[in-house]
């Protein structure tokens, strides 16, 4: 299993949260908002600006800097 950063996924691609390499607070925030370990994430939009993902159909926008620190196991 290879883990990739959320910013490397294109719109439509899916993955499972594997690890978050951000600071303590940001990590906790991400956990709370649904990026817990093994949460399924679908990338909705990843071009300019924050990355938008869907977790169970609910959309969350993450600034690029932060999105970069979310590591996913990409679904094949």
């Amino acid at each position: 299993m290879m883990s990739v950063s959320l910013t490397n996924l294109r719109a439509g691609e899916k993955g499972k949260v594997h690890a978050i390499a951000a600071g303590k607070y940001a990590t906790k925030r991400l956990y709370e908002i649904g990026f817990n370990t093994s949460a399924h994430v679908t990338v909705i939009k990843n071009d300019a600006g924050p990355v938008i993902v869907s977790i169970n159909g609910n959309k969350v926008a993450l600034g690029r800097g932060l999105a970069h620190k979310v590591m996913l196991a990409k679904d094949q």
């Binding site: 925030r29 817990n36 370990t37 300019a48 609910n58 959309k59 926008a61 932060l66």
Partner: protein, 672 residues
């Protein structure tokens, strides 16, 4: 007997305030973005002859708080004595919402769950087994659609029952072996120590390393074994990270409940929201569309509020004025009373009241925007650009709120968990032109730019944003250095704004405007009138009146900006208590000066200004010192005297500087 208390707790944007309004009949502001409610709101209702207090709290994702608004909610949950908590859950986002529920259960709170917005979840083809959910969680679950008052009655009934029943403490969670092992020991240590929390929960919080809870535990006891035990534990496990393990157990629990009780379609339904978002937040179209929406708001505000309805309001005020004057003369009232009523009240306060249709339309349009779900998108499309100025997208929501009123805009910064971001946002919100300034622009636009009202207004607002961003950049380079915080924003589904909530929001703002006209504007205009007719030896409304002398002192300050008459200077001064008073004061002074019936303020303005000085004056009004309510809001939020004073002075300097620039450059190019 003490009145029973019910608290509303839940994730941001799950509909707590909508439910609060439905239960209590209150009129609290709601909107469709996370973070509308930033402070505790209280209300009450009567059910079967008994009265219950209800507390509405800001939304939280968990019991670990980061920002000011979340701390309010968390503190309440940690210290309050609410007899029951109604946990409001967004049904379509059940797992994430159950994460908070899990923590409340873990804490042993007496809960009733309002499974809210089930209609939206059903649109996404989600099905709920409410009975099974209630069994699995061990607390009542009531499906609701608070916006349509569906299920409200049932929630109240369950809450009242729960108050009588009380919940027996039972921890629903199983932790990992590693955590369980430490948990047992920690419970042993804390058991029977008379702590403010159930020992099992206190123990898990200690292991999790929750500093809020630990400091509360430490403050509540002087038992050395407890204090040492906690310190020892953290010293010994300083390199362990139990927190994420515990969070994972909570999510596992929430996930299991959702698996067991919620049926989802095999493939996510593509909603209308997805389709709309394809366009509204498109990489290239996002900001142009935002600009178009704002332009439409101002064009409509002008077209409907001014051109269509403005005339009626003006005629009404004028007619009332004539009526009052005739009555006063018929009643042989003293001359000073006639002068006060006509020049002061009718021409002063009336000049403000005339703009009720205008601001009504603007607040209506802004509340449509707030309810639609677009606010979060605006934050999204602006995040990149905001970053270039050292800010983040979330700040943009505060800025848009500022178009309505600066005071709630300043309060909305409580949702920012980075102190630097919050301070910078507070310092620039006054440049977002508020509703009270609208009457001022309106008079000058009617006098000089009546063909392009909406466009001039749009340009002023846009200019306010630009100045705000530039100042933000400057602050970031000088006094507020450091990292801009990360951007996390939920994008709620678009909703067709409910008539009830739009009308409520509009009415809250309009009634406030009218109330202000009757109170603070009336007071300011009265004081201005007194100063304008005194001393008795001076010609009223002349330069030798007290007001004239004061204005004359101020004249040199504004001469370089092109509006150097004492009336114009003094009106700006009157605008510091409240911005509407600028129009009120000009209306009163010009009416008094010409001493003729039916002097229209617009005509007087045409005689005293040129289009260039009118522009400079509008820019000054846009940027200079915000109203007293704003300054005191900054004092409250920063708990300081320094910041509000600094804000009052620097905005004045910016306003003056830019107004001078406009006038001088304009003159250079031969405009007049």
């Amino acid at each position: 007997m003490k009145t029973k208390r019910i608290a509303l707790v839940g994730n941001p944007n799950s509909g707590k305030t909508t439910l609060f309004n439905a239960i209590t009949g209150a009129n609290q502001h709601v909107g469709n973005w996370p973070g509308v409610t930033v402070e505790k709101k209280e209300g009450s209702f009567t059910y079967r002859g008994a009265t219950y207090d209800v507390v509405d709290l800001p939304g939280i994702y968990s019991l670990g708080a980061f920002s000011e608004d979340e701390i309010v909610a968390m503190d309440y949950i940690l210290t309050d004595d609410a007899d029951v908590i109604i946990d409001v859950i967004d049904a379509s986002n059940i797992e994430r919402n159950l994460y908070l529920t899990t923590q409340l259960l873990e804490m042993g709170k007496n809960l009733v769950i309002a499974l809210n917005m089930v209609d939206e979840a059903e649109k996404r083809e989600m099905k709920f087994d409410v009975a099974a959910m209630s069994r699995a969680l061990g607390v009542p679950v009531v499906p609701t659609v608070a916006s349509r008052d569906n299920g409200t009655e049932a929630v109240i009934k369950e809450a009242v029952k729960a108050i009588e029943r009380k919940r027996v403490y039972q921890n629903p969670l199983t932790y990992s072996d590693n955590v369980s092992h430490h948990h047992e020991h920690m419970v042993e240590l804390l058991e029977g120590k008379d702590l403010p929390y159930p020992p099992a929960w206190a123990a898990i919080k200690v292991i999790e390393g929750d500093s809020h809870v630990i400091s509360r535990i430490e403050a509540s006891t002087d038992d050395a074994t407890v204090l040492n035990g906690i310190t020892e534990f953290h010293k010994f496990h300083s390199s362990d990270n139990f927190e994420l393990e515990i969070v994972d157990s909570r999510y596992a629990f929430a996930h299991r409940i959702a698996e067991q009780t919620v049926k989802r379609p095999p493939v996510e339904v593509v909603t209308l929201t997805d389709k709309i978002d394809k366009i509204l937040i498109n990489k290239y179209l996002g900001i142009p569309i935002f600009a178009l929406i704002m332009l439409a708001v101002f064009q409509l505000t002008f077209a409907i509020g001014q051109d269509l309805l403005g005339g009626y309001a003006a005629a009404l005020v004028e007619g009332l004025g004539v009526l009052i004057e005739r009555f006063l003369i018929w009643a042989h009232s003293p001359e000073w009373l006639v002068s006060f009523m006509i020049d002061g009240v009718v021409n002063g306060v009336g000049a403000v009241v005339e703009f009720v249709p205008l601001i009504t339309v603007m607040y209506l349009l802004l509340s449509l925007l707030e309810d639609s779900g677009y606010m979060a998108r605006a934050a999204y499309v602006w995040d990149n650009l905001m970053r270039a100025f050292g800010m983040q997208g979330k700040a943009f929501i505060s800025m848009i709120i500022g178009f309505g009123c600066t005071v709630p805009a300043i309060m909305s910064t409580r949702t920012m968990d980075n102190k630097k971001d919050r301070m910078v946002t507070m310092l620039i919100t006054p440049f977002m032109s508020c509703g009270a300034k609208l009457p001022i622009y309106s008079v000058f636009i009617a006098a000089f730019f009546s063909d392009h009202g909406g466009l001039v207004l749009f340009s002023l607002y846009a200019f306010g944003i630009i100045v705000g961003l530039l100042m933000a950049k400057l602050f970031n380079k000088t006094i507020f250095k450091g990292e801009t915080s990360y951007f996390i924003m939920e994008l709620p589904p678009y909703r067709i704004p409910s008539t009830k909530s739009v009308m409520r929001s509009m009415w809250l703002n309009v009634s406030d405007f009218i109330k202000r006209a009757g109170t603070i504007i009336f007071m300011v205009v009265t004081i201005m009138w007194l100063l304008a007719v005194l001393p008795g030896s001076a010609e009223p409304y002349s330069q030798s009146s007290y007001l004239g002398r004061l204005g004359t002192l101020l004249v040199p300050i504004f001469r370089h900006a092109g509006f150097g008459t004492w009336q114009e200077s003094v009106a700006l001064f009157a605008g510091i208590p409240a911005k509407e008073a600028v129009v009120g004061t000009l209306g009163m002074l010009y009416a008094g000066q010409y001493m003729e019936e039916g002097v229209v303020l617009v005509n007087a303005v045409q005689q005293h200004f040129t289009s260039l000085t009118a522009l400079a004056y509008m820019v000054m009004v846009l940027l200079y010192t915000p109203c007293a309510a704003t300054i005191s809001a900054v004092a409250r939020e920063t708990k300081s005297v320094r910041w509000p004073v600094a804000m009052a002075l620097y905005t004045f300097a910016i306003g003056w500087f830019v107004a001078v620039l406009v006038f001088q450059i304009g003159s250079l190019f031969g405009f007049a």
